[in-house]
Point group: C2
């Protein structure tokens, strides 16, 4: 009965965190296939021998961790499962083409529940012109786990990796940040109220934007298209799934550079600001933008010579620039204080 | 709080079964991309515009459903997760090239446990010359769910679909059947004994073959290679994950034909026979072969003109032939009784 050996001399998963854990677990793996252009370590793997590359990515949503059935409509959940997977294809500057969906569900779910889930999957596939080409459905002991594999395509010369940013490049972000996390805060607040009083009818109308951002994020293929139309290939790109700070640190680490962003340039919606002030007068909207995550906006860098093409692009904000190797990733406040960015939370430092 | 709507007017998942459920859920989906050659409904999706096609498949193993940590060594589990995913590539007559692994784990697992799991993943990747190119690791509320996406390649003309069998084709199967399920029966028996008496030390040595078949199945790329060397392209192929009966019915349905197999031709290992006689004198080894599943052998059909090339091929057994449209899928016993095959269990019928 050897499956229990792992209980001796254990290191808890929390002591590492996802990225260090992935680094450790995939450390000894080698790439042997000439068709593997990029393996572990970006938003997608890049595969194929020719000029047009295949992009491959997986994303998993687990009940009780990534979503709460108490406030997640199944149709939204299906939509989001596909949406966040193909967002990784957007983050490589690619076009999504196919998805597969693997579902593990307990018998707590009915056939009608899965009809709803798949209606959402279908809606997202139709909106982004993606074919559902396979997957599987199996039982789980409890709850639901949805894994989506997304396939995309991109011309070799147009692929934007995390590793291509270089000194003086401009840092851009699409849409606004922190709104998805603000939506989650509202849903969690209403859940607590509902649990205390099941007759309570939450009034969510005035939070429509932030709720939609959390429950049904859209991948930014409109931005990918705008950049293509202007002939701009980002020097690096990543999607904002874990918060701006974490994503900037990925780009800086992989591109071997530092960065400087300006707090007042970070796009924040007024609903995000309102939610923060309602929740706690010490909660800063910029903190939700830096650490909230779940926005699925695109964070990218461009060469300075593309500035004219990008500066008036709808939905794109230039928030800073790349600094040289050895420099930290920092945010400058309106008071000219420099804050060093850390993944999850940040600490102030005098300039 | 709309997530709970699904609890009204419910149809239980068990009333449909996996295949009918997939049919229902994917019914309204349409294929729009010219690069989608085959979508839902075979062992892999077939993608790409050129002569060399990309094969894509996902497979998920959920704790408590597909594996029991009580008797599953984590290294074996990692190996099996990759093995059964790439087995779907073998079932299309393809070559596996890359995998991605998505893992949802509870904090019951330690870093060292995942080291073991990934050691098994790595071993399987190395053995079958497959690159690990991505995936993700996240938390789960309880237990472990492993989803593996496998990518492969195959020349367009060499792809074996489930739908290509035609009248008079010979039905072949690799290896032996029913041994994986026999291994599971032994493990379940020892688990019950162990739970009753934790000092009990199971003696599993004499069951080594069937245990390995269950815990660490091998995809049959050796058979794919042999067929290629002999210049044989199967007219149809599928891997035996759910039992011979279920797989034959898939081929007959998709190829719009019937079939006739001969009981005494079905390859069964002596350990399978021994386990059956130990378990219950009424347990027939052929029943494990038909309905047990988990063998991951290849079931394929060949044109009669390839008979000479295949008849002495190592590890390949010719067990019957394809019959015309409208005929049932049947097994003929040594006593010349004809049994109609049904997925999970079978019923006798006078000839």
């Amino acid at each position: 009965m050897s499956g229990l050996e792992y209980q001796e001399g254990r290191t808890e998963l929390e002591t590492l965190g996802e990225f260090a854990l992935i680094d450790r677990l995939t450390d000894g793996f080698e790439i042997h296939r000439s068709s593997t252009i990029k393996g572990v370590g970006d938003d997608c793997a890049v595969l194929g021998e020719g000029e047009e590359k295949t992009l491959l990515t997986m994303n998993t949503l687990a009940e009780g961790v990534d979503f709460d059935m108490m406030y997640t409509p199944l149709k939204h959940l299906g939509y989001k499962a596909v949406s966040v997977a193909i967002s990784n294809v957007a983050a490589m500057n690619g076009t999504p083409t196919q998805v597969e969906v693997s579902l593990s569900v307990s018998n707590r779910y009915s056939v009608e529940a899965l009809d709803e889930l798949y209606a959402g999957i279908r809606l997202c596939c139709e909106r982004y012109d993606v074919d559902l080409v396979g997957g599987n459905i199996g039982s789980s002991r409890s709850g639901m786990v949805i894994s989506v594999t997304a396939v995309g395509k991109a011309k070799k010369a147009e692929i934007a990796y995390r590793s291509g940013a270089k000194i003086h490049d401009l840092i851009c972000v699409s849409g606004d940040l922190g709104s998805a996390y603000s939506g989650l805060l509202i849903l969690e607040r209403e859940k607590v109220t509902y649990q205390a009083n099941p007759n309570f009818q939450p009034d969510l109308d005035s939070y429509d934007y932030v709720l939609e951002r959390y429950l049904k994020p859209e991948p930014r293929f409109d931005i990918v298209k705008s950049l293509r139309e202007k002939g701009v290939v980002p020097t690096s790109m990543i999607d904002v799934s874990d918060g701006l700070a974490s994503e900037l640190l990925h780009v800086c680490k992989d591109s071997n550079c530092g960065c400087e962003i300006y707090e007042e340039r970070i796009p924040i919606d007024y609903q995000t600001t309102r939610v923060c002030s309602e929740m706690n007068k010490n909660m800063l909207p910029v903190s939700n933008a830096l650490n909230g995550g779940g926005d699925y906006e695109l964070l990218f860098t461009i060469d300075q010579c593309d500035y004219e093409k990008v500066k008036d692009m709808e939905g794109v904000h230039i928030i800073g620039h790349i600094t040289e190797k050895g420099m930290p990733a920092v945010m400058v406040t309106p008071q000219n204080t420099t804050i060093t960015l850390v993944a999850q939370g940040f600490k102030a430092m005098d300039r």
